[in-house]
């Protein structure tokens, strides 16, 4: 089921699309996950610019899929994930970081297993829907690239949350800053919109609000660097490693939105990483055993995103 109505993509000033609240979306995601036929219409949730209107969610569909579950046995980890999703059917805590429980200081990192990524784009969809982004604002973007043997592979590219971030260095007003956990955030009340950070970022991971952002439903708190929704016109935005989620012990949206478990969120201090299908690993051995590398390592940015290549490819060409 598509979450959105048909839009004409790419035309400047396009009308905002109606957005469903995240908890509604969770229900729909749940139902989608239960759909067993991958070729059924609506099973493909790749964000795109087709103009096919989709019907809204119906009660009959829920009952049909529930019956399908009853027929085929559901194994433990998958069930546990459904429980997790259902538990999360509530508005995600936004912005009020002072209310978040204090925990150990993290050093956030991500591991993306390129062997598993199939380019479905659900990570991008989850991120865009939950942050109320326009379709061209792909904070996490999945590139389709060709390796040396001519085979296609997919590479999701979030913000690298560099330890030595060029974007922070060049911001004239200090609107881009780095938290002590290593996440680079943008204070959109300070940003003057000069786009120097976009010039400096070697990963093209920053996205500008060239027009008014789309309307968002009423949110409990004001926008903040930890949850910049709605965004401000004339300022820059980017992937924030979902600090508003992780602060409450939840996974980032892309991590839990990846059905292949290709995206892991991890802590270099705690030396553990977890993906969205319930797998957790010891981060240092996971990286070592799988020969994880970083993108554009030679630039000295010291990114916090590790890639597990698997096809003998160079990253990013």
């Amino acid at each position: 089921m598509r979450l959105t109505e048909a839009v004409a993509c790419g035309t400047p000033g396009w009308r905002a699309r109606p957005v469903r609240a995240p908890w509604e979306q969770r229900i729909v995601q749940l139902e989608e996950a239960l759909t067993l036929d991958p070729t059924a219409p609506g099973a493909d949730t790749m964000a795109g610019c087709d103009n096919v209107p989709r019907p809204p969610v119906s009660r009959r569909r829920v009952l049909q899929t529930a019956a399908a579950i009853g027929v085929t046995a559901v194994v433990g980890p998958l069930a546990e994930r459904f429980v997790q999703l259902a538990d999360a059917a509530e508005p995600h805590p936004v912005a009020d970081m002072s209310a978040a429980p204090a925990g150990p200081t993290r050093r956030w990192a991500m591991v993306i297993d390129l062997r598993r990524c199939d380019g479905c784009g659900q990570c991008t969809d989850a991120c865009q829907a939950n942050h109320y982004l326009r379709p061209e604002q792909t904070w996490l973007k999945v590139y389709e690239l060709t390796d040396a043997s001519g085979n296609t592979y997919f590479m999701p590219r979030p913000c690298m949350q560099c330890e030595n971030p060029p974007c922070v260095r060049v911001c004239p007003v200090g609107a881009s800053f780095q938290t002590d956990e290593g996440v680079v955030l943008v204070d959109q009340t300070k940003c003057i919109g000069c786009r120097m950070c976009m010039a400096a970022c070697p990963y093209e991971a920053r996205y500008f609000n060239w027009a008014d952002p789309q309307p968002v439903p009423r949110l409990p708190t004001a926008p903040s660097p930890e949850f910049p929704a709605p965004q401000q016109k004339g300022t820059v935005g980017k992937c924030i490693f979902c600090v508003h989620q992780t602060r409450y012990g939840k996974l980032p949206f892309c991590v839990e939105g990846c059905p292949m478990g290709a995206i892991y969120i991890g802590d270099l201090n705690e030396d553990v990483a977890a993906n969205g299908v319930g797998e957790s690993v010891r981060l240092s051995t996971f990286l070592k055993d799988n020969d994880a590398i970083r993108f554009k390592e030679e630039l000295g940015t010291r990114p916090r995103v590790y890639y597990i290549a698997g096809h003998g490819q160079d990253l990013g060409y």
Binding site: A79, F82, A89, T246, G266, L268, D271
Partner: protein, 200 residues
């Protein structure tokens, strides 16, 4: 509001349905065969202190206290990360005496508390507390430019101040020699006198 209730009702119904099904296989695993598993940990000799390498030993026996050979034993570390409480940090296979041995270097920054778990049977040992915190493996590099980068900022500011001082000096020196018209000077002089009288 009604809509929200309706959707939560749907969510609850679906939750109950799948949870019921999901718990079934989990409950099946709860009935593990009798046996025992113990684990102990020793810091390896000359390993660089307690944060260095440890040796973990797990002894697996069956219900009749006979050692089990060739069983895979996993060692899990207690962590606190986004709802994850345990992560596998090592695994080893038991030998003829039922002992699985492995080396382990603490890298997690949390208190090191380990349990062993036999993979096949699922029995877990009591936790062993190493009494240390791990040292994360990642090291931040130092600023190699050091003094140069520290001086660059103040140096640039100093240079700018010198230039401004020269510009101001040139302008002011000209203005000083070319006297202000008396018409402008006199009101300032009078104002100064008036302020002086006020203060008295």
């Amino acid at each position: 509001m009604a809509r929200r209730t309706r959707v939560i009702g749907r969510a609850a119904a679906t939750t109950l349905l799948v949870a019921g099904l999901g718990l079934f296989p989990a409950s099946a695993l709860a009935d593990s065969p009798p046996g025992s598993l113990t684990v102990q940990a020793e810091p390896a000799p000359a390993s660089g202190g307690q944060a260095g390498t440890w040796t973990l030993e797990a002894r697996l026996t069956d219900a009749g206290n006979h050692p089990l050979n060739g069983q895979t034993v996993e060692f899990l570390l207690g962590v606190d990360f986004l709802g994850i409480h345990q992560v596998v940090v090592a695994s080893a296979v038991t030998d003829a005496s039922g002992t699985a041995t492995t080396a382990y270097r603490p890298t997690s920054s949390s208190e090191q508390s380990l349990v062993a778990r036999a993979v096949d049977s699922g029995i877990t040992s009591l936790p062993v507390d190493l009494g240390v915190r791990g040292v994360p493996t990642v090291v931040a590099p130092t600023n190699q430019l050091g003094l140069v980068s520290a001086l660059a900022g103040p140096g640039a500011i100093g240079l700018a101040l010198v230039v401004w001082a020269l510009l101001a000096g040139a302008l002011l020196s000209v203005l000083r020699v070319i006297a202000w018209p008396r018409r402008l000077v006199w009101p300032a002089h009078r104002a100064g006198q008036a302020v002086g009288e006020l203060l008295e």
